[in-house]
Structure formats: C-alpha cells, structure tokens
C-alpha cells in the first residue's frame, strides 16, 4: 500500500510516498504503527497526524480497504 506524504512529513522522508506492506484486514492503527518503523524520522509527526482513506479522515479502528488511496495528514495550517 502506498501512503502519500505532505509538508514536513514529505521533507523528512525525502519522498512523496512510502510503500507499506500490511496483512489483509489491517486497520488504520496498524498502518500508523508501521510508519515509524519504515521511516523513523517521521515518528514524532505520525503521532500527531491524521490518516486519510479515500479523502476522508479515518479512525485508527477503520479497516483499510484494498486499493484505497491513503495519506498521512499532518496538523493543517491553511488559511
């Protein structure tokens, strides 16, 4: 599964996305737990970020659908 990165997360990772391997029936929480292992530099930011599934904020208990568009959404600062 490909996880899109934005703003400071993208700069820290040096990439616009991270590839994550997760078992079937994995949740958003499982994804959240795997990100710091794959990219320790974003660990602190992951804790404070939301995760979006198909352009909607998702709770950690949400099951990840196959072929979903997934993104790490750090605290926003538009306006």
């Amino acid at each position: 599964m490909r996880v899109l990165l934005f703003a400071r997360a993208r700069d820290l990772a040096g990439a616009e996305a991270i590839e994550v391997d997760l078992p079937a029936n994995a949740t958003v929480g499982d994804l959240r737990a795997s990100l710091p292992k794959l990219c320790p530099r974003i660990a602190g930011l992951v804790e404070r970020s939301a995760i979006a599934v198909n352009n909607e904020y998702a709770a950690d208990t949400t099951l990840l659908p196959a072929a979903a568009e997934v993104a790490l959404v750090p605290p926003v600062s538009g306006g």
């Binding site: 934005f6 352009n55 909607e56 538009g78």
Partner: protein, 137 residues
Amino acid sequence: MVRLTREAIDHTRLTEDVRRDHCGAVVTFLGTVRDLTGDRTTLALDYEAYPDMALKKLEEIEQDTRSRWPVGDIILEHRLGHLDVGDISVAVAVSCPHRHQAFDACRHAIDRLKEFVPIWKKENWADGTTEWVHPGT
C-alpha cells in the same frame, strides 16, 4: 463554489459573484500573509494542499454552511504556491438576506477551513530558514 488556485485571488470579482438581489448583506473575509509571528519576521509563505481531499473538505464546508444559514451564494478560494507578505492566501465570500447571517456564515466557513482542510504553509523566515507549520508539533 470552492476553488484552489495558483493565481492571485481577485477578491473584487469573488465579492461581486456572490451578490444576489434577495441578499442585503455580503461579507468577504480575506486571509493575508502577515509579516510578523511573535518576534519573528516572515518574508514569504509557501502553501501546499492535498488537492483532491482539500476540495472535498471545502465542498463539505460549503454544504454545511448552506444548511445552517440562508446563503444566497458562497465562494471559498485558497491560493497555493509561493506568497509574499501582503498577498491574499484565502478568501471566503458569502451573501445572505441579513448581515448577522452573512457575518456568522462567513466566520463559520473560515473557522472550519482552518480546522480541517488539508492545506499547509511553510514559513520563509527573514534569517533564511524555513519551517512547515504543524500546530501542536
């Protein structure tokens, strides 16, 4: 209507576009790039969005605002890219029959936008450093 743009925001056109004959009140909010944050000097801001989700969330704010007030029309527009001090980063224009409705609707829309629309700004400080703004981090 909601828009993301890389061009300068034409707030006069935006304000004209929401005017309606049955609306006696038009409120336009502009967010502009400020030169000071605390005692630090900003030279410029870079804005980026998660575009598809940002547009979806802006549309939700439009619908939510329309459901709460008798909105004649509403436009939410956010600029992306490199903005200098004084540039307009965001505009919300709302028309309603009466002024208290228009003020409240406009404030609601900009407050929600700042709360959850996936857009980020990067400070370009006068000392040459840059910093993404992620409140609470």
